[in-house]
Symmetry: C2
Subunit: 370 residues, 2 copies
Amino acid sequence: MKSILDYETVSLIDEDDALEIIDQTLLPGKIEIIRLHTAKEIWDAIYLLQVRGAPAIGVSAGMGLYLLMKHSKAQSYDEFMKELDEKSDYLNSSRPTAVNLSWALKRMKAHVEKVYAKMSPRDGVSGSFSDAVRPKLIDEMRDECQRIKQEDIDVCRRIGEYGVTLVKDGDGILTHCNAGQLCACKYGTATAPMYLAHEKGYNIKVYCDETRPLLQGARLTAFELHSAGIDTTLLCDNMSASLMKSGAVNVIFTGCDRVAANGDAANKIGTSMVALAAKRYGVPFYICAPTSTIDINTPTGADINIEQRKPEEVTEMWYKERMAPEGINVYNPAFDVTDNELIAGIVTEYGILHAPYDEAIRKLFSEIKK
Amino acid sequence: MKSILDYETVSLIDEDDALEIIDQTLLPGKIEIIRLHTAKEIWDAIYLLQVRGAPAIGVSAGMGLYLLMKHSKAQSYDEFMKELDEKSDYLNSSRPTAVNLSWALKRMKAHVEKVYAKMSPRDGVSGSFSDAVRPKLIDEMRDECQRIKQEDIDVCRRIGEYGVTLVKDGDGILTHCNAGQLCACKYGTATAPMYLAHEKGYNIKVYCDETRPLLQGARLTAFELHSAGIDTTLLCDNMSASLMKSGAVNVIFTGCDRVAANGDAANKIGTSMVALAAKRYGVPFYICAPTSTIDINTPTGADINIEQRKPEEVTEMWYKERMAPEGINVYNPAFDVTDNELIAGIVTEYGILHAPYDEAIRKLFSEIKK
């Protein structure tokens, strides 16, 4: 079996006008690399979760928008931008709540606008738009979407480099859900310290919560770590306290969906229960968070709106037959909030933040701005 | 839909030489009442978990042994007891680690021995064994297995009566796994306070953890409570902290498999994580335990041996396809231990025990002995 690290989650195959992805809906049973050419194919891949995870979706959207504009026949800047808006709106409709999707599409557009604004002479270029301006804008779009991907890889690598300082040879490491390479472009966030520890030759043992209801831990995290040759053990979500009590876990890394200004962290449902058990059994619990997921405009975890998902995910999805009585109510929140005091540190691409988080986050953001 | 309370989990149908049970392997999709006549049918029902739960297995074994001896042709007491031992060993082999199974079979044998010992004149009855002695022993076996069942119902009812004093009208109640009527003969243990609250007309809302990997919460607890007309909500095990944080849960009841002399309680895997979240969010967490599950010879939870179960329960059971990569390790303990300090009280058929549990348990046992 090839390692997951031999693949890229999302790649631009420019010579084939294609986006290449691992079809994640077939994992872990089958590793199939597919190429997406048309707008519909790209839209479907995002909608059907063939590609998933905030960073990977962002990169796919950026590259997708480039590919859809690459053969544009627009005869003027206005026409070009109108076409870009249409393609962008279409891609954005595939998963409207995914922040990185719209973020990447907006970034692509803003870059085109900036490049065009700097082009000189601006006036009078309309006559030669298709010869001079359009190819330049398209070239710039290709570079920008490649930059989005490279920045994601760099951020994950740096999170891994800081995170691996928290790992010792021989450690047991627990994670919840998938904040792995499969949701980013390389390394992932929570998995980056694991891949880097493995690179260093550390003999680590990783424990993956299966992560009900959608089983991202069993299907994706366990798959990608195991394929990379890391000693991987799967457990049900309700088993992690027992495992920690046994002394098998030395450190915990999870990803996060949003960190509030006070360090409260929203992540996949169940993360807070892992953190509670970690506190009880003295295991340090770290959140791996690119600074892009830290939201200084959200004061605390209580201000984070939690999506409720459909009952069928709990009552029938994945099962051979319906496993709960008809007519039952279902509580199915997608995320929970881990209180900042349960978090030993927040591993970012700029270093590891420690409590008090409000201060640490304020300081980090003022330094980034400089 | 009829309520679960309209059924009995296990019944003796003496006129048909049969044991009648609800086939629990078909729940929650189908309520099928089946009658077991032969030794093989009874053995299979226990082995295949058509009937399950410690008390229900005990009652089934006792009734099964009676039915298998009912038409005995033994011509002497020795012959009768030899036959009884053979039938008993056979039934006992269906689930050799189930304590209540061997307990009930031993109790049936001991009762026969006691009755025979009291029969007078003992000597010289062998000639008329088949006319005088054998029918009496068989009658006594029927009474004894009915007593085992009635005692179970009484114990559950009394646990319910004590437990319901901890419930207020309008309360949200959380439970984990199935310590319900389906594992006992009526009321169950953890569910007894819920059924009694419902009987009293309280408007309660019960939350059931699905309880991976075997989903007893989704398949059995949610089914039986819902069928009884109780407002029932299903959630994944990793969602209970989120639910408690929201304020929806006022009190928690779970069953237990064994309580140590210091009050540490072994129960279905995940129970300790519920208790940890309960502590954090100020929700009282109660264990419902017949005194038969309190083991004063086990000093602490650390002395309880935890069964590890097969990986397939986590990686493929219930699923349409294998949901984890081949070759993965699996951690799959059946139980975990909840530390006594996380337990607000232990609800027994003699009242509610409070910390310090070592004293409370010692006192209870010395009173029971009197």
